[in-house]
């Protein structure tokens, strides 16, 4: 359960940027969370709700979190097959050799936020 720590980092990144742009109320935060980025959307949502409620001086009580999932993808370096890596991440389903490389699904980004100046 490191999602609390991650959400703390996310809100800090948003807050620093928003303060620099003269905003004082955040309404929405959008994330890209890859399927193999090692963060669970449900736990992130829970952490967001908790931290938002503790920081209502900067986050609107209705502030929402939107999570976009990035699908995990791998490509076999031998046959070029694109496949969805499951447990056996490197195992190409065609060649049956661990010749696959992960090309997507590890992204974990703050995509955007929406805020305003309430004063």
């Amino acid at each position: 359960m490191h999602e609390m720590a991650l959400m703390g980092d996310i809100l800090q990144l948003v807050q620093e940027d928003a303060v620099g742009k003269g905003m004082d109320k955040i309404e929405k935060v959008e994330l890209i969370v890859g399927e193999i980025a090692n963060a669970m959307p449900d736990a992130l949502r829970m952490a967001f709700d908790l931290l938002r409620d503790q920081n209502l001086h900067f986050f609107s009580v209705h502030a929402e979190l939107v999570i976009h999932r990035e699908e995990a993808k791998a490509i076999c370096v031998l046959c070029g097959e694109k496949y969805k890596p499951e447990q056996k991440i490197a195992l190409c389903p065609i060649c049956h050799i661990p010749s696959g490389k992960v090309v997507a699904g590890e992204t974990f980004q703050v995509l955007s936020y929406e805020g305003s100046n309430g004063r």
Partner: protein
């Protein structure tokens, strides 16, 4: 007003990791980040490693734990410098915690630094600490399903130490299966079966460390 950031969530951690990495490079300190589930035997393995290698290399250990100084005390008893980081419930070490702990070590006087992460196969894998090598420790009693169950850890480590090999006769663990599972997740990773308690296979680990150290000095 909508602002597009596209900033990596771990940006601040990664900045601290780069800071650490530069420090390690400037002081020629080889750093290994050891990760495992609780009870895999990381501290015992490090005790033995320090005991054998301390005559040849100047070794230090950063111990990450939820609470207590116990692990650091065990390492100090073997004659190495040890700094304890208590995460106060936090499930992993991050690069900032390591940067803070480095203040207690004179890196110019250290050849090899081991960072013993908090026992956990999930959270520590995503955090770059600035280390040169990520090493996972797995133990025979944990069973064969650890590698396929935690692919996100094993895809990011380059060496897996399979500890407690002395218990193999009593348990249904297949070393061959573990090697196959690991190869299917991360073909670049090696698996070294060993026992910190009986010393079996430990020389392979020491050999690996010495090779890594020579390579590190040459780069």
């Amino acid at each position: 007003m909508k602002v597009t950031l596209r900033t990596d969530v771990l940006t601040n951690n990664n900045k601290a990791a780069e800071f650490n990495r530069e420090l390690f490079q400037n002081t020629k300190t080889l750093v290994m980040n050891l990760m495992s589930s609780p009870g895999a035997g990381k501290t015992t393995l490090l005790e033995e490693t320090v005991r054998v290698l301390a005559g040849k290399y100047r070794i230090a250990v950063i111990e990450g734990d939820l609470a207590t100084e116990r692990d650091a005390d065990r390492i100090r008893a073997m004659g190495a410098r040890a700094v304890q980081i208590n995460t106060h419930g936090g499930c992993h070490l991050d690069a900032r915690m390591v940067a803070a702990a480095l203040g207690e070590l004179d890196l110019d006087e250290i050849d090899i630094l081991f960072i013993e992460n908090v026992g956990n196969l999930v959270c520590p894998s995503g955090y770059d600490l600035g280390q040169k090598h990520k090493v996972a420790v797995l133990s025979v009693p944990e069973g064969n399903d650890k590698i396929p169950k935690y692919p996100q850890m094993f895809m990011r480590t380059e060496l897996v130490l399979l500890n407690k090999l002395d218990l193999l006769p009593y348990l249904d663990f297949s070393v061959e299966e573990a090697k196959r599972d690991l190869a299917e997740i991360n073909p670049k990773s090696n698996l070294l079966p060993l026992s910190a308690r009986t010393q079996e296979g430990m020389h392979e680990w020491f050999f690996w460390i010495e090779g890594a150290y020579l390579k590190w000095l040459q780069q």
